[in-house]
């Protein structure tokens, strides 16, 4: 199998790229997958609801 077909671009000593290190770490991804929607959707949404003035 050629190098292109196997998808390997270097030897075993070559450092693992930063992005691949992130993608290979399930717990970083778990953190990102919980933190991003929690902040952008849930917390932001809850803050908006809380900041609605109470009717007089």
């Amino acid at each position: 199998m050629s190098e292109l077909e196997s998808g390997k671009s270097g030897g075993a000593d070559e450092p693992v790229p930063f992005m691949q290190q992130i993608l290979d770490n399930p717990f970083i991804l778990l953190f990102l997958g919980v933190a991003a929607p929690s902040v952008l959707y849930t917390v932001w949404g809850v803050m908006e609801v809380i900041s609605i003035p109470v009717a007089q």
Partner: protein, 560 residues
Amino acid sequence: MAATHEYRVCPDTGFKIDLQADKLIKWNAVTAIVFLLIGGFFGLMVALTRWPTVHLLPADWFYLALTAHGVDILLVWIIFFEMALLYFASSVLLQSRLPMPKVGWFAYWLMLVGALLGNVVILQGESSVMFTSYVPMKADPLFYVALLLFAVGALIVCFLFFATLVVAKSEKTYEGSLPLVTFGAMVAAIIAVYTIASGAVILIPTLLWSLGLISHIDSLMYKVIWWGMGHSSQQINVSAHVAVWYAGAAVVFGAKPISEKVCRMAFLLYILFLQLASAHHLLVEPGLSAEYKIFNTSYAFYLAVFGSMVHGLTVPGSIELAQRRRGYTKGLFEWLRKAPWGNPAFVGIFLSIIIFGFVGGISGVVLGTEQLNLIMHNTIYVPGHFHGTVAGGTTLAFMALCYWLVPVLFRREIWAPKLAQWFPWLFGLGITGIALFQMGAGTLGVSRRHWDMTFADAPLSYDYPAAAHLLMAANGVSAVIASIAGAIFCLQMVLTLLIGKKREGAVPVASDAAEGLTGHGHGAGLAVPGTFVLALVFLTSFVLYYFVNWKYLSEIWLLS
């Protein structure tokens, strides 16, 4: 520790399978199919009631059936099957032992008790609050207890999945990155953790409110947090069925993705942005700012849509590459013409990609656009959209996988294999009809959940256009077709387990299926002209439909 685990070697793939994982996959998958049958029956009752001429059920039974259909299909069937997938993608594909199998069984029983309790409580008639269970509609406290038990069970399985990844890594059962199918399942598990946490945050206070321990729950607050669970639970499905697409391409064709790097980046977009689409349910809420709504739907959500479009390109692209490697190189589409059209696993997955992309995907983007959403918000367009994604995309992909997985796991031949060849076409036709006719009726304003579209007993009547009645009748016919197909599927799976011929030989899979499922790398080159033509057809449809809706909006929203 590891020595106490017993294994079998799969004669079809050569995988070493932990017997406890094997059993958990079987039990979760079979339980899922039982609830699919129950939920599908309720779905048929709903469709026959909304068919104006038939109008089968009285109002109280209609809302009961609608609640049961939503809970059994959107949660129980799909999540039980996804639990089976998580065990398969971790323990089997990584060829690892399953840590803490007793915890897995505890989680299974917790989910089963939750699912059964939920059904009993709904059938008692005091919890017809529908899947969304919006406050101030109050269900029996046991309804919320049932959902919480089910969710906790599912959360435990997600943590077992992550534990299996750790065990596999430390015991070096695989090298390098996770296989792509396992990676996709991991993304589903990650989304599941956020989903279940959101569910707990809102369902626990709602339970206390139903017990009278809390006096009031703000309805907008409920909606914001509940949709973090309600919509995200369907995003678990998207990640899981994309993983199934890659698995199907590997099993049938021995295919590898065009580019693993690109596929993983597309999954990363899911991790970061897919759950934000929950906000499209809140687009007409007056208390939330335009910035919040537009960022969560039109800006960030489009990045997740981009991820789906990448998968929609790379899965057929990987199949085309594999077929061209086998010599099917004539013209643009010989690879597709010579595909195994008699294999229900392939046909189901192929139709799942088409229906998810063309029907569920495009309509999802339209629904997620704040201005266009005004045309169809809370109309029956919304169920039309999610029948395209959840039924046409996820359910069909899972069912298709069963035609491969059941003979492999249970060592039996599929009962009545000729019938199986009809199944994906019939189910695909029925579900596409349901989705398109509901979307059509929704565009004409038919409400999402109302029991009687004629408003016969309402003090102030309203007449929908005649076309809307016709579309709802066509929806009923499509539901009958889909139900017949669903019954065929359930019957085949049950009879295969009970009286299916014991199998001696191997299931026909691609010779390099195991390598496709667990290996790394990509097919040679980007020579997938047929797939690019299909992608252009998709993009043209997308653009046309999107702008047709803007034109429609300009005609009905006369502000100037």
